[in-house]
């Protein structure tokens, strides 16, 4: 059996709030094979975002292990994790998270800055990514001049431009109406079809139904696996 892409073993995470610790994740065990489309569901505050951030190496677990391609990420330095993020992970957030001062093109080019890709090829790949989400005509606009759906498409372009192997989407349609939302989802599905591993947090049962692998978080535990 080949080593799975992502492995979580007994991952725990707690946050200190008013001099006591609040447990957010209490022993998560999860295996995600390469090329999987995984959805995470669960009530608000159940720790979905926390889990996704640990997988995306923005956060570290308090205890337990996070392995990527069989390699333990626990001992990696900040620089190593950053390098890893820049090459392997594409984030899509609920609130888009574009840099307001930068144009669409520069927002999409942002990850290349940290991935040591030559300027020329960065420009080319960013343009391709923007075209693939159908925003070539908005290249020089600032995010504030775009609609919510367009902003999320820019965020998707930014996530895929560097061709990462994992896409992490935290309620990508949460701030959008259903029509725009399904449009965004079709882009994400297309990424999965192209071979990317996609993990998506969603409240939408229809989205979850579409995915191959589903987990349901409840009080920091995986309550249900499908």
């Amino acid at each position: 059996m080949p080593t799975p892409l992502i492995q979580l073993r007994g991952v725990c995470k707690s946050y200190p709030i008013h001099d006591r610790r609040v447990d957010v994740l209490t022993g998560i065990n999860l295996v995600v094979e390469s090329g999987t489309f995984l959805s995470i569901m669960g009530p608000s505050g159940s720790g979905k975002s926390t889990l996704l951030n640990i997988i995306g190496t923005l956060d570290r677990p308090d205890s337990g292990e996070f392995l990527f391609n069989g390699k333990n990420m626990q001992s990696a330095s900040d620089t190593q994790l950053s390098r890893f993020r820049s090459r392997t992970i594409g984030f899509v957030f609920q609130n888009f998270n574009l840099i307001p001062g930068l144009s669409v093109l520069n927002n999409v080019k942002l990850p290349f800055l940290y991935a040591s890709v030559s300027r020329l090829s960065a420009e080319k790949r960013a343009l391709e990514a923007i075209e693939s989400v159908g925003l070539a005509h908005r290249m020089d606009h600032k995010p504030s001049e775009l609609s919510g759906g367009e902003m999320q498409r820019v965020a998707i372009a930014r996530a895929i431009a560097i061709q990462p192997s994992i896409i992490l989407a935290d309620e990508p349609t949460g701030n959008l109406d259903s029509k725009t939302g399904s449009e965004i989802l079709s882009y994400i599905k297309a990424l999965h079809d192209q071979g990317a591993t996609v993990i998506i947090i969603t409240h939408d049962q229809q989205v979850a139904d579409y995915t191959q692998q589903r987990i349901h978080l409840l009080d920091g535990r995986i309550a249900e696996r499908l």
Partner: protein, 418 residues
């Protein structure tokens, strides 16, 4: 390299987005650098001026000047048999001071030179033949005096370059020129010298402008002065200035002490002379310079501290405002070091630009000061370099804390920041 370039570009973007704010935060640095550069240029100018003067006066020379006496002092001088400054003092010094190698005398004469267009009469001085050598005066045409001229009390003269031009054909070598009732034959023209900007600050001895001078051999002056009814009584081979040259400029201070004692005895403690050592003036000036430098350093320190605090303030505000951006950058792969570098570059660009503006304003200020204040100012490359380096240093020092703070932010909290 690619990264650094992009960051410089990004920083410029962010600085231009907040033009006014960035400019205001730079003001401290701008004025600090401006003040420092102006003051260094004044200080350097003064040093250069003094050095030029001292160089012209000769670092190996010691000047003994006849002092003006009050009537009561004059009476005392007669009582104590002091006859004022004469060439005899020179002989005593040559005999008594082993370091003294050469002497020259100079006597300023108030005598009218006839036949010159223009209203200003040239200054007439009687000098020893060795004067030219001691003061590094060069002859353009003809020759300077020889000991024979002096011995024979020859009625010859050497004139400055500007004076020669003013005289026109009459100033040609071989022609005669009338001083009071005597005719002197012109035997040489002096080479033109830079008259040195007439500094406001008078040193104890000022550099003479040879271009406008008429020189006759010492001794020949007697005949002019003897006819002058008013000064007839006081003429006894006196001179107004005696110049002693020592072998080496290092010996000048020691020789000065010996000469002081010789003169004291010879003049029976009558203070009818004054000893001036150009090199001592320089040493004295260096002491003043040290004090000036300390004041300068303090001002530089304070203004840069104030400027730095301004920069730190604005950088902290920038970091705070861009919390979300920091989170985004971290999510797409920026490491802590990347974030530190980004904000550090931004603060360096701020202080560097401020430094450059300060250099421009400071240079302009130095020019204005030299025009209005008549002080010589000098902008040296090292002063400009130092100012810019200081500005960049301030950018690094005061930008580091905000930059590190930015890098220490939890990316998740930063991403959620509204």
């Amino acid at each position: 390299m690619n990264k650094t370039l992009s960051w410089i570009q990004l920083s410029f973007n962010s600085i231009f987005q907040h033009r006014l704010r960035s400019f205001l935060s730079m003001l401290g640095i701008i004025f600090g650098v401006m003040a420092v550069l102006t003051m260094i240029s004044i200080s350097e100018g003064a040093k250069k001026e003094l050095l030029e003067q001292i160089e012209r006066l000769g670092t190996k020379n010691i000047f003994i000047k006849a002092a003006q006496l009050t009537p009561s002092q004059k009476a005392a001088a007669v009582e104590k048999l002091s006859s004022g400054l004469t060439m005899a003092d020179g002989s005593r010094i040559l005999a008594g001071c082993s370091q003294a190698k050469l002497i020259a005398g100079l006597n300023e004469i108030s005598a009218a030179v006839r036949g010159i267009s223009g209203n200003e009469s040239p200054q007439v001085v009687a000098v020893s033949p060795s004067y030219a050598g001691l003061m590094k005066i060069l002859v353009a045409r003809g020759r300077f005096f020889t000991p024979f001229d002096q011995m024979n009390h020859d009625m010859v003269c050497v004139i400055g370059n500007t004076l020669a031009t003013r005289l026109g054909k009459n100033g040609n070598i071989g022609n005669l020129i009338r001083i009071e009732d005597h005719l002197f034959k012109i035997i040489g023209h002096l080479q033109e010298v830079d008259p040195l900007s007439p500094g406001k600050k008078k040193t104890a001895i000022s550099v003479r402008n040879y271009n406008e001078m008429l020189m006759i051999p010492l001794g020949a002056d007697g005949s002019i002065i003897a006819r002058d009814q008013e000064t007839q009584l006081s003429y006894h081979g006196g001179i107004t200035e005696l110049i002693v040259q020592v072998q080496d400029s290092d010996q000048v201070m020691a020789a000065g002490k010996v000469i002081h004692r010789i003169m004291e005895i010879a003049h029976n403690h009558v203070p009818d002379y004054q000893i001036v050592i150009p090199r001592a003036l320089f040493i004295q000036a260096r002491q003043t310079q040290k004090l000036f430098n300390m004041v300068l350093g303090a001002i530089a320190g304070i203004s840069l501290l104030v400027g730095g605090i301004g920069i730190m303030n604005i950088m902290l505000a920038t970091v705070y405002e861009r919390t979300r951006e920091i989170g985004i950058r971290r999510a797409v792969g920026a490491s802590r070091t990347d974030i530190v570098q980004q904000f550090l570059i931004e603060s360096i660009i701020l202080t560097f630009s401020g430094g450059l503006i300060g250099v421009v304003l400071g240079s302009a200020c130095a020019v204005v000061v030299s025009r209005i204040g008549q002080w010589q100012t000098l902008i040296t490359p090292w002063a400009v370099l130092l100012s810019v380096i200081m500005a960049v240093g301030v950018g690094i020092f005061f930008g580091l804390y905000p930059a590190v703070r930015a890098s220490r932010m939890d990316p998740i909290i930063a991403l959620r920041y509204e």
